[in-house]
Subunit: 456 residues, 2 copies
């Protein structure tokens, strides 16, 4: 009888075909026209979890996209893992920058290109396929207890799962969570993520004249909402990237000396990163901090879009009645989204330019997280990764936000193992998103080995 | 036999029906999908000019939308008028703010609502109907010589007509031009516009990372083009609205003492204007100048839209690879578009934020104009207006730009009579554009009377 890893290795072509089918579903959670597609992706997962042997498989309906739940709880005396992933994806725009269509998964140079390939359908599916392999090799049983909770709103703030975790913690009772939605620090370098930045995503709406007016007739008298927003944004950060919101840095905890030392030993070259990952003429951010510190351990502020006015080709000489800036901030321990938003809102209102009215709105938020490396689940994960990858694990943080990890900590009182296999050039949230296929396969093997280690 | 004015009065219902038909054609010159509609509007005008008795009526084809030409040159010894108007219109967006559809002309409270009602189809059509009435009353003749030149690119920079005027001045030889594309200072106040601001319409494109990147992973390292544009825009004007481009004000000519005195006597209340025309909580612009001075005699700078990034509903955490700001400046005598753009471009490049590359583009431009009030055409127009409106004419300037007036001055060496009948609340370039129907009718009578005065 083959081991679980051996079983998986024999089935990779089928696993890949199944993943491609899932990636063909354009489950873009932020766009109302894709609501049916998001549900379709959930239903595919329900069917698959049932097929492999999971129990109590069901959709949990709420006001938004459904959650997918499943469990298998017959490994008496063994720990319980809560497997988490998300089946929704970011919008694919700008479409014209994709080399192949975002929802037609395409293999090139050992990579699978598609929206959601790595974030997070591919990584979520590693867990499903690890469970299938374990059932097959362990005669219909798993080496530990497992609950699965998958969501379809991660890219739009994760309200439904947050509500469910908050209101029904007993239904998700577990000893730890496994989240596969992070990346490896470098190819071939097994990585556990033990820190995440939090975030607040906001909109500032500026309103001037009651109607759009002509910039010839009214230029010099009517307030211009874009100019007002520009003046506000220019006062949110100084030219070096330091955020100017009063009190914003007060709660920021510096990383420990050990962490900083470990980060310095990581294989990271800022010039290589600038040229190959970012591709800009220069990197930006606070002076005196390395790129790793700036993206993992410092709060940052970005503008994502400025809807309003005329954005077509050519010239329309309008002073728009209103304009919006989509502004988000990444937070680090021990900042809280609530306090950060209050500080931001008060400050924006205090620098309101003359002539406009402002509406400062919180769209969604998530807590910053740091996980201790001394818990037994992190230790078992480290051991499993060593076995599969034949290398010592590096502990990193991520600049991104996975708000659910904070919810697991707060409401379920459990730590999360963030074991992910994305690569730095996987183009998350961007055109030509991909997943390195070798990482899809070894990710499955890593999860199998991790679960077998915990079941010993 | 009825006089021309009497003839017109008998035909107003038909004139209005014809105007409505013209307004139903969505001749939006900036949108490629309306190219056919723009041509259709031109063809309707060709047919109508032929029908009323004009000669040599034809389309003049170029690389853009066609010009419409017509003439009648048999009034020996009388002056020649060059009638100008434009049959293209601004885009109608935002569509959801129109009370009735922009291309379904609708009468409400004595006004005709439609895109182009006043700018400029309605005003252009006053000229056509004045000519028809004169032909009818003068037994197939006109009291003076007339050339008509109509364009379909006024809202996109007017390249074709500028080229034609520059290259074929002999084909447009005239003693003065009549442009009906301006407004009355107040209802019932006959007005001649004797000054226009010039303009430069530009785009600043800022480019950071080579691709869109995730603001979690890269926030703190990747340059943000929107933040860069905001920093630039915030340095273009100070908080009081004074433009910070070095040298920008050097050539600005202050209005004469007489002009300033006349402007002060106009019926204008800044608080009424703020409340009823602009509707903002406060007016903006340079301290120390009245609204009239700021909008007629001072250069200004506005931002019209900032394409790029994510502008949909909800949250997409992207740092876009590029973003654009559409920025225009209004110019006054003796500024020149060429020098103003050079000063602007140099300054923008000199304040380029770290990490981004910039492309500063001129989209189009027009000269600022001041016309002397002592020429015979302005005097005849004043006399005609007194007769029709029974009030003395006020001489105003306009904050808007009609670049063709500068071209007529430069290449044809003729002055322009800007006799317009728009009202300040006509919503030019905005939703619910309208034309006051009484002004459409009395505009026709004013042009008839003006031409008869010159033919005496």
């Amino acid at each position: 009888m083959p081991t679980a890893v051996e079983f998986a290795r024999g089935e990779y072509p089928r696993f890949l075909d199944e993943l491609k089918a899932l990636l063909r579903i354009p489950s873009v959670s932020t766009l109302p026209e894709h609501k049916g597609d998001v549900r379709r992706a959930a239903e595919v997962l329900v069917a698959e979890l049932k097929r492999i042997g999971m129990e109590n498989v069901r959709l949990i309906e709420g006001s938004g996209h459904p959650l997918v739940y499943a469990d298998w709880l017959h490994a008496a005396g063994k720990p319980t893992c809560l497997c988490y992933g998300h089946y929704d994806v970011q919008p694919p725009d700008p479409l014209d920058e994709w080399l192949t269509p975002p929802f037609e998964p395409t293999e090139r140079n050992g990579n699978l290109f598609a929206r959601g390939a790595v974030d997070d359908k591919g990584q979520m599916y590693m867990q499903v396929k690890a469970l299938e392999s374990l059932f097959k090799a362990h005669t219909g049983k798993l080496p530990l207890n497992v609950r699965v909770i998958l969501e379809g709103e991660e890219e739009v703030g994760g309200e439904s799962i947050a509500k469910f975790v908050r209101e029904h913690p007993e239904q998700l009772k577990a000893d730890f969570a496994l989240v596969s939605d992070t990346e490896m620090f470098a190819p071939e370098l097994p990585t556990l993520c033990v820190g995440l930045r939090g975030m607040i995503y906001t909109e500032i709406e500026a309103r001037g004249a009651k109607n759009d007016v002509h910039s010839g007739m009214y230029g010099g008298a009517a307030p211009n909402p874009f100019v007002a927003l520009a003046q506000i944004i220019a006062q949110l950060k100084d030219k070096d990237g330091r955020i100017l919101i009063p009190g914003f840095y007060d709660k920021v905890q510096a990383p420990s000396k050990d962490e900083l030392k470990a980060w310095k030993s990581l294989p990271f070259d800022e010039e290589h990163y600038r040229l190959n990952e970012v591709g800009s003429v220069q990197l930006t951010g606070e002076p005196g901090y390395s790129v790793i510190e700036r993206t993992w351990a410092r709060p940052t502020l970005d503008v994502h879009g400025m809807p309003g006015g005329f954005i077509g080709a050519g010239a329309k000489t309008v002073i728009p009645a209103k304009a919006v800036a989509k502004v988000s901030m990444r937070l680090v321990p021990d900042m809280t989204p609530k306090e950060a938003f209050q500080q931001y809102k008060s400050y924006v209102e205090s620098i309101k330019p003359a002539g406009v009215e402002l509406d400062v709105r919180l769209i969604h938020s998530g807590d910053a997280i740091v996980i201790g490396t001394d818990n037994p689940y992190i230790k078992a994960a480290t051991k499993a990764l060593k076995q599969v990858w034949n290398k010592d694990t590096v502990f990193i943080r991520s600049g991104g936000s996975i708000p659910i990890v904070g919810d697991f900590e707060r409401h379920l009182k459990i730590p999360t193992v963030m074991m992910g296999f994305g690569l730095p050039d996987d183009n998350l949230h961007a055109p030509n998103e991909k997943f390195h296929l070798a990482n899809f396969y070894r990710g499955i093997e890593s999860i199998i080995t991790f679960f077998e280690e915990l079941g010993k």
